[in-house]
């Protein structure tokens, strides 16, 4: 969205993407163009705020999910150690009791 100045007059244009190309569309001049430009700016700010909220929420969700990772890995190590100590071994993804010689 942009105002263009020619001589001493201002003309308002909207940019829209269509078929991977950005097309410029003339909207108008004067008070009506100003009202439309104001509405466009409000929409743009609202979208930016929404996008920022989504980014923050996603980041928070990621942090929360990864916070327990070290702990879960430790639990896995402890579980495996327990099974190995009890005489089990992993065979093709399955835990089996070791055969005694």
């Amino acid at each position: 969205m942009a105002w263009e100045r020619r001589d001493s007059n201002f003309y308002y244009y909207q940019s829209k993407r269509a078929d991977d190309r950005v097309r410029k569309k003339y909207v108008g001049t004067g008070e009506v163009a100003q009202a439309i430009a104001h509405a466009d700016e409000t929409i743009r700010r609202s979208r930016a705020a929404r996008s920022e909220r989504a980014r923050v929420e996603l980041e928070e969700a990621r942090t929360l999910a990864s916070a327990g990772e070290g702990l879960w890995e430790a639990a896995d190590v402890l579980a495996v150690a327990q099974l190995v100590a009890a005489g089990y071994h992993k065979h093709k993804g399955e835990w089996r009791m070791k055969r005694r010689a």
Binding site: L64, A65, A75, A79, L83
Partner: protein, 176 residues
């Protein structure tokens, strides 16, 4: 960020090395592993359980949206889940693994709620956001199912029944 204490992480690392050696048929390592699991590791397991509870409280707080009642309800539901999963006379490891399942259950529920909230917002969510959130949820779900499987394996292989004996004032669970 929830971090295990440095000495606990060190002990876990040592235990992993010992466990790897024992899996390679090192009988000395297996015996040492048994000794450590009986004498030294219970303290490490207890510390991990403490951290798991702290993590669960953190998740419950975030899931509650600021409502103390909801936070308490989520915590209580997860606590009951731990008791139910761990079963009667659980070993400290079974408690830890049950804590893990309950925590991941809260995490998965929270992520689902977050995503649903975005779907229902009048402004909607961008496809990129939904995709990334769905990936995160998928990863947590996989971890959750893996945690259930590990708990089931440990419970199954440790035997269906255990007896609890008291030796010198200490509770000891013995597998039969």
């Amino acid at each position: 960020m929830l971090e295990l204490p440095e000495d606990t992480r060190k002990r876990i690392h040592e235990l992993q090395e010992l466990s790897d050696k024992a899996q390679d048929d090192d009988q000395g390592a297996r015996q040492e592993l048994r000794r450590q699991l009986a004498q030294e590791v219970p303290e490490v397991v207890a510390r991990c359980s403490d951290s798991a509870r702290t993590y669960r409280r953190l998740l419950a707080k975030r899931s509650s949206g600021g409502s103390p009642l909801v936070e308490e309800a989520i915590s209580e539901r997860a606590r009951r889940m731990v008791l139910e999963l761990a079963g009667e006379n659980p070993t400290p490891l079974e408690v830890l693994l049950s804590e893990r399942v309950a925590s991941l259950w809260v995490l998965v529920e929270l992520q689902e709620a977050l995503l649903a909230a975005w779907y229902y917002k009048a402004e909607g969510a961008s496809p990129a956001f939904v995709l990334q959130m769905a990936r995160l949820q998928e990863s947590s779900n996989r971890r959750y199912l893996g945690a259930i499987k590990t708990l089931a394996q440990v419970q199954k292989l440790q035997g269906p029944s255990r007896v609890q004996v008291n030796i010198g004032g200490n509770q000891v669970n013995v597998s039969r």
